[in-house]
Symmetry: C2
Subunit: 115 residues, 2 copies
Amino acid sequence: MKQAIVVRTDLGMGKGKLAAQAAHASLSAAEASQHRKGGWYDAWKEGGQAKIVLKVGSESELLEVFQKARAAGLPASLIEDRGLTQLEPGTATCAGVGPAPDADVDAITGKLKLL
Amino acid sequence: MKQAIVVRTDLGMGKGKLAAQAAHASLSAAEASQHRKGGWYDAWKEGGQAKIVLKVGSESELLEVFQKARAAGLPASLIEDRGLTQLEPGTATCAGVGPAPDADVDAITGKLKLL
């Protein structure tokens, strides 16, 4: 089991902003997984909650990842910034995919590079 | 309600590593909060799961934050890296404090700077 956190690099987010948005994506996708049957969330937690952080260069790439994950029936989250600080309100910043079986996550995010 | 994620800056973690560790801290502290009475977790989620990411410059400062949070009865997590990639196994990388009421979190982390 693993979770992929996919982050946009074209927004110029600072480290703190990026970490907060990634945590938001992680938590929301984990919660989506927790609400499903199949025990993916518990297996992931017990296995050390493996996470990989990947990058995309545009909003359209990010949305594509999110939509593919949803279409494949995987727990997924799309995070939009509330625009209180660095970004315009509603800017999609990152997405979470999984926790889900490694092969299912790789089928969606396998071609993306590590951040 | 808010959650503070406290990150060490002296380890030279890359952005992806940092985001993954911060997400780990966030999720673990959120889960600790979820298991408590008082509705802090639900109130935090409904309020947009506010997070701030703060920095410390050493392991001892990080441990101090974590221990103070625990001593104050706040949900808290301390994340140790498994050492598969950039760091020695067992290296404490970051901590999560809350979700908890703003004033309680500020009492522990209020003097730390934003990452």
